[in-house]
């Protein structure tokens, strides 16, 4: 294994006593002194600060926003052209088979499109964008900025202390906002199901902005461990676990992310990789679906747990793709894929844990209600 990359906040993590682990080629904090459970609960009660600088930040520029948007629409089945200035949207890179290559956020920042992609996929994503979009659209990889997330019901109060303009933003708004003298690119979004912000900060000023937030009573640093349990309770996909190159957006329950204008009867229908399979899945239905799963006992059902329709016999009808303990849910929580016939909320199924089939119920996601500022 090569040398691990470090984010601009590495020294701060170490000073805070974080336990560091390798993640997507970076040395990242998995937990701090509070531990996963308390960090999770603190984020839902107050505000949690996450370093997500390992994610890829990319700026796409062309003759105009519209020109960039039209080009980007060849890679994603989303309405990019119709996205208003100062607004952000969830997106997916699809492949020719209609599977998902990565999930991402993209924002209309006036004269350019700002894209944030997963750390583990960023090299492939950048190559994909360069190959498909250049030279008409330039693909500028941002390597001199940190990215942090401030999440939780007290996130607005905390961040507004540094600049009250952030209080005016609503869910999925983006803006350039000065924080402690740093020019920050702020979006009102996140990966926890809570209200909050994601903040791109010039690397040299990242530690100062982060420390200013951590000095506030409401704010605690949160590691990757709690980030995972928070997003799991919120029903949000982890790329590589819950969605991958073989899952179609329809199987994954991400139809909502494909705006009508890009669907089969829309004005700008298709024109993205895998449109045939995705439209076929939409029209004909799918054989498997991503669902929320609530184990009825206390034992967590982790990723890879096979799911059966009955307590004995039969072949597996699905598999857990993410599972663990939900501190806010106060019990084990999971998500995974099951056959379409078993996907209705309330369906009683069985997960095989250590050779024993344990009852698990299909449940509506999110398992913990979202708390966005619409």
């Amino acid at each position: 294994m090569g040398e691990l990359n470090r984010t601009p906040l590495y020294d701060l993590h170490v000073a805070l006593g974080a336990k560091m682990v390798p993640f997507a080629g970076y040395d990242m904090p998995v937990q701090y002194a509070l531990g996963v459970m308390k960090e999770h609960l603190h984020c839902r009660a107050q505000a949690g600060l996450f370093d997500v600088s390992h994610m890829g930040q990319v700026i796409l520029r062309g003759d105009s926003y519209d020109a960039v948007a039209r080009a980007f629409e060849t890679l994603v089945p989303m309405d990019v052209l119709g996205l208003g200035e100062g607004r952000q949207r969830y997106g997916l890179f699809t492949n020719e088979g209609g599977g998902i290559e990565d999930d991402l956020m993209f924002a209309n920042r006036g004269d350019h499109l700002f894209v944030v992609v997963n750390a583990a996929c960023k090299d492939a994503d950048i190559a994909r964008m360069k190959s498909a979009l250049e030279p008409a659209v330039s693909v500028e990889v941002i390597t001199d900025r940190a990215l942090i997330a401030l999440q939780g019901p007290a996130a607005e109060t905390a961040l507004a202390r540094m600049n009250d303009a952030v209080a005016e933003m609503t869910f999925m708004d983006v803006a350039t906002i000065e924080l402690a003298g740093a020019e920050c690119w702020v979006s009102r979004s996140g990966y926890t199901g809570e209200d909050g912000y994601e903040i791109s900060i010039p690397a040299t000023q990242a530690e100062a902005v982060t420390k200013a937030l951590l000095d506030m009573d409401e704010v605690e640093p949160i590691g990757l461990g709690a980030r995972d349990s928070l997003r799991l309770e919120a029903g949000l996909c982890l790329y590589g676990n819950d969605i991958d190159a073989t899952t179609s957006p329809i199987e994954a329950g991400l139809i909502w992310a494909i705006q009508k204008v890009r669907r089969a009867d829309g004005d700008r229908a298709g024109g993205f990789p895998g449109a045939d399979r995705i439209f076929g899945d939409l029209a004909e239905g799918v054989a498997r679906k991503r669902v929320g799963l609530v184990p009825q006992g206390r034992a967590p059902m982790r990723a890879g747990t096979p799911i059966f329709a009955s307590a004995e016999g039969g072949e597996a009808i699905g598999e857990v793709t993410s599972g663990g303990f939900g501190p806010t849910f106060e019990g084990p929580v999971a998500m995974g894929y099951v056959g379409a016939a078993q996907a209705a909320v309330g369906t009683e199924l069985f997960g095989e844990v250590r050779g024993k089939r344990m009852p698990v119920t299909v449940a509506k996601m999110p398992l913990v209600p979202a708390n966005f500022k619409r």
Binding site: V36, K38, G225, R298, A299, P300, R302, F325, P327, P332
Partner: protein
Amino acid sequence: MKFTEEHEWLRVEGDLVVVGITEHASEQLGDVVFVELPEEGTEVTKDEEVCVIESVKAASDILAPLDGEIAEVNGPLVDEPGKVNDDPMEGAWFFKIKPSDLSQMDDYMDENEYKDFIG
């Protein structure tokens, strides 16, 4: 008190041996959210998996450190798995084993050896 390389502690109590996991192990595991105990009366052999504990991070097995019979289990732990983090060396014992050969205890580390072992 004796210690195993699996980070269990063993304490002789009359003709029984009480078994739990060490403070070090509980810190490494993180918040424990699930404990599955063996049934009282089960005959076990050394190094057999007898308990499962799961933390927010992962599942781990607890091995029987000695041959013998499970004489008693700490039932309340099932409802309060967090006690494994709060009180690993005393209140959060897992089971008491009636050993068939107490000399197997001699294989294990004393406290100083365990401290060296975990560095």
